[in-house]
Symmetry: C2
Subunit: 323 residues, 2 copies
Amino acid sequence: MNIDMIRAAADRLKGHARRTPILTSPFLDEIAGRRVYVKAECLQHTGSFKFRGGWSAVSALTDNALKTGVIAFSSGNHAQGVALAAREHGAPAVIVMPADAPAVKIENTRALGAEVVLYDRATESREEIGDRLSHERGLTLVRPYDEPQVIAGQGTTGLEIAEDMNAAGVTKADVVVCCGGGGLTSGIALALAAEAPGLRVRPAEPEGFDDVTRSLQSGKIERNARLDGSICDAIITPQPGDITFPILKAHCGPGIVVTEEDCLRAMGLAFERLRMVVEPGGAAALAAALFHPDALDGDAVIAVATGGNVDAAIFRQALETLT
Amino acid sequence: MNIDMIRAAADRLKGHARRTPILTSPFLDEIAGRRVYVKAECLQHTGSFKFRGGWSAVSALTDNALKTGVIAFSSGNHAQGVALAAREHGAPAVIVMPADAPAVKIENTRALGAEVVLYDRATESREEIGDRLSHERGLTLVRPYDEPQVIAGQGTTGLEIAEDMNAAGVTKADVVVCCGGGGLTSGIALALAAEAPGLRVRPAEPEGFDDVTRSLQSGKIERNARLDGSICDAIITPQPGDITFPILKAHCGPGIVVTEEDCLRAMGLAFERLRMVVEPGGAAALAAALFHPDALDGDAVIAVATGGNVDAAIFRQALETLT
């Protein structure tokens, strides 16, 4: 896992992934007490950064592997990213999703041509189901984060942040990233270490699901006590990955833990001030940037808004936090 | 009013206005029956394309005029665009706004440092109030659309559409633009006539406020019967402008009239499929592209999503159109 893989992924993604904008608002700057730059990965194809990793992994496969097809397990965003990447490569895709994933994510994954297999998040292991189907049908498993080509794809987000922040004259700042298994966070960390070493990655996690924050504190991989019951479904994973964690440990500053209420408030402000739809898990970094200023250093902060696939019912809750 | 003014405005806007992305979704393509490209001006500074015209006009003023200040009348988006442009130029700004404008727009305009003067849309003339204050205080009036430097600024949207559609290989298509007084529509029409003559502008308007559509039909300026009672407040104006109408007449195809319900449904789909917040008046073009396919020609359509400044209450109505 190295910067050259990220640069190679950027070449493969060119013309396929969207180069997402960095959004700002004087109103958000005022709340945060510093300049706030929001990397808008909600506007990526399929509504999250996951399309980058999906495209990177699928585009690296042999023609034979593409013909047989791919399989992925995902709470929803990785599912859609892999499904669309597979479809655009003409490859069949099977996606293993938790039965309690937001309806819009399940529906979108099916509409993108994938076969969806549902499982119970509390009693079944998605890894086991994925491994079994992978072996039975000869499908190539595209892991959601602990997979070098996926990390390389997500890392292209970091190359863009480095370039845009350099152009904006921001050379020293914290870059807050919503963190599940650490694929995006480690990819961005590697990219910034190479391209913008003054920008330091800070993982953001929801309260009660702060495995990465605790792992960074203790120096070894820590697990979450539970895996359900959060509106931040997109970034709830059992523990940091075996590949991602050493990278996080080498390059990231301390994690920042936010509440679900913080995430809903950040979603409301993204609606009002950036005119962007962010899902709860995708709002954790912006929540940290806006409501935890003391945890951050410098006169600027970059927050990665990682996804925007949210049901209307949850979005209404976010709207209620306004005024 | 010519293409050189638009190119000069583009030079002045460089590094100040955001180059907004063009968003797509396979789900929207399916609804429309053709490729749909959405120019995301909701993501412009202050949440609408109006910042372009505001910046263009303010940046063209003399130092003395900047020192005395500017005045504008606006239902809200032009207000914010001029207020921010003035603040960034260090110029005082007075904004005359209708008392029934969305609260968020009034509040934002004040927060951007402008002095806000409210008037009754049904009984008072904003033009008269603007003229009076302009004379009393020596302020330079920045008209919302019938103003060459404003049209030039809005026209920079058209330069970007021409460039991006050329890169996407789309050389022949309708470009649907939400149309009030015609500043944006005429600016885009001039830019496309020069840079992408196969792209034809089509004004989109809400039912009951279709002055431009009727004016294009009759060949002379027609007025709206009323000026209030629409959720599409951003694009409700008495009639096309004296400067904008001849340009519209020379370059645009027939207007397309949409219902308020169309706009709410388009807002819901922009939320779900593009993760973008669009206001009712800013959704008229997307509504035409999605729900009036028979009014359009070609296998692609470009819709300009002109603004995203919408109160939560109205946005909830849009969410309700999703099942």
